[in-house]
C-alpha cells in the first residue's frame, strides 16, 4: 500500500516553526472515515453550543403544549382520567417526543443551509466516504436533539412523572432513537431539496401531522377506523407508544387504567410488541440514512 508523502519545508524566515512538517494524507480507511464522521458530529455540537437562542426557542413549543394546553384541557379531559392521574402526565411522553422534533429536523436543515453558503462543497470534495459524512451528520443531529429532550426531561416533575433513574434512562434511549430517525429523515430530504425555504416549508408541513397522528395527545384505543389507520401509518406512533408505556409502568395504578391510557399499538387486533415497535423506528432511520448516502454519492 502506497502512502503519499509530502515534505513541507518552510522558508527559513518562518521563524520558530519546526524544520519540516510531514503531512501525509492517508489512503482511505476505516480510521480515516471514523475521524471524518467524528468531526462532522463535533461540528453539530459546537454549533449547538454557540447557538443558545435555538435551544431556548425550541423549548417554547413543548412547554406551551404541556403547561398551557395540558392545564387548559385538564378540566375537560381530566374527567376521563383515573383519579390521581393528571392529564399533563398523560401527554408528557408525547410532548417529550415533540421537544426533539424541531431540533432534529433543524439540524438536518443545516445541510441545505451549508449548500447555499458553500460549506457543503468543502465537505464533498474531501477524500472521505459519503457514508462517513452522512453518518456523522445523523448522529450529530441525534445528539443535540437528545440534549434538547433531556432539558425537557428536567421538567418531568411538573407533569408528576417520577424521576426514576431507570425510567429516565429508558426515555433518553428512546429519545436518541427518535432523534436519529428524524435527523435521517431530514438529511434524506435535504439531499434532494436545494432551497432552504422549500425545505423548511415542507418539513413544517409534515411535522405537525406526524405529531398529531402519533397519539401524543390522545390514547390510540377506540378511535374511528380512518383515524386508527392513519395513526398506524405515522412512524412517530411507534416511539410515542413505547415512551408512554415506560412512563405509565412507573406510575402506581391499576392495570385496567394502564390498558385504557397506554394501550398497546395494534395491527388489526394484534398487539405489536414493544421491541418490534422500537425496531421499526430504528429500521426506518437506517433505511432513510442509506437513501441519503446513495443520494450524496451521485455526481453531476
Amino acid at each position: 500500500m502506497a502512502t503519499q508523502t509530502t515534505d513541507v519545508t518552510p522558508a527559513p524566515d518562518a521563524g520558530l516553526l519546526v524544520e519540516e512538517i510531514r503531512v501525509a494524507v492517508p489512503e482511505r480507511g476505516l480510521r480515516h472515515d471514523l475521524r471524518a464522521a467524528g468531526i462532522v458530529w463535533r461540528r453539530e455540537l459546537i454549533r449547538f453550543r454557540t447557538d443558545r437562542l435555538r435551544a431556548i426557542t425550541s423549548l417554547i413549543q413543548p412547554v406551551l403544549f404541556l403547561f398551557i394546553l395540558g392545564t387548559g384541557l385538564s378540566a375537560l379531559a381530566g374527567r376521563g382520567m383515573p383519579p390521581g392521574i393528571s392529564f399533563k402526565t398523560f401527554i408528557y411522553p408525547g410532548v417529550l417526543a415533540m421537544s426533539v422534533l424541531f431540533t432534529a429536523i433543524f439540524s438536518s436543515a443545516s445541510i441545505v443551509w451549508d449548500r447555499e453558503f458553500g460549506f457543503l462543497r468543502e465537505i464533498l470534495v474531501a477524500p472521505v466516504s459519503r457514508a462517513a459524512i452522512v453518518v456523522g451528520k445523523c448522529l450529530g443531529g441525534a445528539t443535540i436533539a437528545t440534549f434538547q429532550g433531556i432539558i425537557f426531561l428536567i421538567l418531568a416533575g411538573f407533569a408528576h412523572v417520577p424521576y426514576n433513574p431507570l425510567l429516565i434512562l429508558t426515555l433518553i434511549g428512546e429519545l436518541l432513537l427518535l432523534s436519529f430517525t428524524l435527523t435521517a429523515f431530514g438529511v434524506m430530504m435535504a439531499a434532494r431539496i436545494k432551497q432552504f425555504q422549500a425545505f423548511m416549508a415542507l418539513t413544517q408541513m409534515l411535522v405537525m401531522p406526524l405529531f398529531f397522528l402519533s397519539g401524543a395527545l390522545y390514547p390510540l384505543a377506540g378511535l374511528p377506523a380512518w383515524l386508527s389507520v392513519l395513526t398506524r401509518i405515522d412512524p412517530l406512533t411507534y416511539i410515542v407508544g413505547p415512551m408512554r408505556h415506560a412512563v405509565f409502568s412507573h406510575l402506581a395504578m391499576p392495570a385496567s387504567f394502564q390498558q385504557q391510557l397506554a394501550p398497546a399499538i395494534t395491527w388489526d387486533g394484534w398487539a405489536v410488541p414493544l421491541g418490534l415497535s422500537v425496531g421499526l423506528v430504528a429500521a426506518m432511520g437506517l433505511g432513510m440514512m442509506a437513501v441519503a448516502i446513495a443520494e450524496f454519492r451521485k455526481t453531476e
Partner: protein, 349 residues
C-alpha cells in the same frame, strides 16, 4: 490497492509513466454539457509540475466547469482528465487527496472560528494528528492570520476569509492547488495582497497552481495561460509569447464623431476599427510611427490618443474578437443564465 503515480517522481516506469510524471494535470478531449448548453466543447491541455497555470476567459466561458471536472465535483460528458496521475472520474479519492481548492464563493463555516474551520478540514482529510497543530500554524502564519485564529469567521473581512481559504486549501499539503477566481469581489489592494501570498507560496512549497481569472493583469502572474472562450481554448502559451504573437500595438482614440472616424480609418488606411470601452480602437504594427500620420490624414478631430504595447487584453481581443469586458457585458442573458446554472450546479454537489 492501487499504487499512486507519485508526483514526487520517484516512480520509475514506461514511457507513458515518465510523461505523466511531468504533467500534473493532463486533459484531453474534455466536454461537458448541461442539457442543451455546451459549457466545455472539447479542450486539451497539460500543466507541468510546479507551474502556475491560468485559465483566462469571461464569465460563462467554461472555466469553472473545467475546474469542477478536475476537482471531481462534476463528471465530464466525454474526454479524460488526469490530475496527479489519477483519473478524475474513476479515482476520485486519489485525486481529492492530492488537490487543494479555493472556490470563488466562500466555503467557510462562519459560525466556527478560523482554527475550528481548519481543524475540521484536517480531520476530514485525515491529516496525521501530530502534524495538525504545527501545520495549522504554518499555513496560518503564511497568510498572516495566526493572531486571529480564535475569532469567528463571521468577523473576518472578505480578504481575510479568502486568505483563510487559501491556508485551508494548503493544510493537507496538496500537490495541486486550484484557485477559482481567487480575487473576485475584492478591492484592488486586497487583490494584490492575495497575489503576494500566492507568489510567496510558490516560493515556499513544491506546488502546482491552477487558477482561473477574468482579470487580465492577474493572468500576468502565471507561467502559462490558456485563453478560453465559449467553451474552447483559443490560445495557450506564456504571457510573453502570447503578447508577442499579437505583434501589434493597440491605439485608442477619442474623436468628435466615432462613426465617421471608423469609416475614415477604413477608407484612408484600410484599418478595421471598432468602439471598445468608449474609444475607437484598432491595432497597427508600430503605433508611435502611426500616430503622426493619423493626425495629419484623419478628417475627424481627435481629442486624445493612447498607444499601448500589446497586453493580454489585446491577446484576448485578437483571439476572440472582443475585449474581455465587452465579452462579459454583451455576453448576453444566455451567458449569464449559463453562469448562473453552473453556480447553482456547483452548489448541488
Amino acid at each position: 490497492m492501487d499504487t499512486h503515480a507519485d508526483t514526487n517522481g520517484a516512480a520509475a516506469g514506461a514511457g507513458a509513466a515518465a510523461a505523466a510524471q511531468q504533467a500534473v494535470i493532463s486533459v484531453s478531449g474534455l466536454t461537458k454539457e448541461y442539457g442543451d448548453v455546451k459549457a466545455v466543447r472539447g479542450i486539451d491541455f497539460e500543466v507541468a509540475r510546479g507551474e502556475t497555470f491560468g485559465f483566462l476567459g469571461p464569465n460563462g466561458a467554461g472555466k469553472t466547469t473545467t475546474i469542477k471536472i478536475l476537482c471531481t465535483l462534476a463528471n465530464a460528458t466525454s474526454g479524460t482528465a488526469l490530475v496527479a496521475g489519477h483519473d478524475a472520474r474513476t479515482e476520485r479519492d486519489a485525486v481529492r487527496r492530492n488537490i487543494g481548492l479555493v472556490f470563488q464563493d466562500t466555503t467557510l463555516d462562519s459560525y466556527l472560528t478560523a482554527e475550528q474551520n481548519l481543524r475540521f478540514h484536517a480531520e476530514l482529510y485525515g491529516v496525521p494528528k501530530a502534524a495538525v497543530q504545527p501545520r495549522m500554524r504554518q499555513v496560518m502564519d503564511m497568510v498572516g492570520l495566526w493572531d486571529r485564529k480564535d475569532s469567528l469567521v463571521s468577523t473576518y473581512s472578505g480578504g481575510m476569509q479568502r486568505r483563510l481559504e487559501i491556508a485551508r486549501g494548503l493544510l493537507h499539503a496538496p500537490h495541486v492547488l486550484f484557485l477559482d477566481e481567487p480575487t473576485v469581489g475584492l478591492d484592488p489592494q486586497t487583490r494584490s495582497s492575495i497575489w503576494a501570498y500566492i507568489n510567496d507560496l510558490k516560493r515556499r512549497e513544491d506546488i502546482t497552481i491552477f487558477l482561473t481569472t477574468h482579470y487580465m493583469d492577474e493572468a500576468e502572474n502565471c507561467d502559462r495561460i490558456a485563453i478560453i472562450d465559449h467553451g474552447k481554448i483559443v490560445a495557450i502559451d506564456t504571457p510573453e509569447e502570447l503578447k508577442a504573437s499579437v505583434g501589434k500595438d493597440r491605439v485608442q482614440i477619442q474623436t468628435a464623431d466615432d462613426t465617421k472616424a471608423i469609416a475614415a480609418l477604413k477608407e484612408t488606411f484600410g484599418i478595421d476599427a471598432a468602439v471598445h470601452e468608449g474609444a475607437v480602437t484598432f491595432s497597427v504594427a508600430s503605433g508611435e510611427q502611426f500616430v503622426p500620420r493619423l493626425f495629419a490624414e484623419l478628417p475627424v478631430p481627435i481629442r486624445s490618443v493612447s498607444v499601448s504595447r500589446p497586453s493580454l487584453d489585446d491577446v484576448f481581443m485578437s483571439y476572440t474578437g472582443s475585449t474581455i469586458r465587452d465579452a462579459e457585458a454583451s455576453g448576453g442573458d444566455a451567458m449569464r443564465a449559463m453562469a448562473q446554472r453552473f453556480r447553482a450546479g456547483m452548489g448541488r454537489r
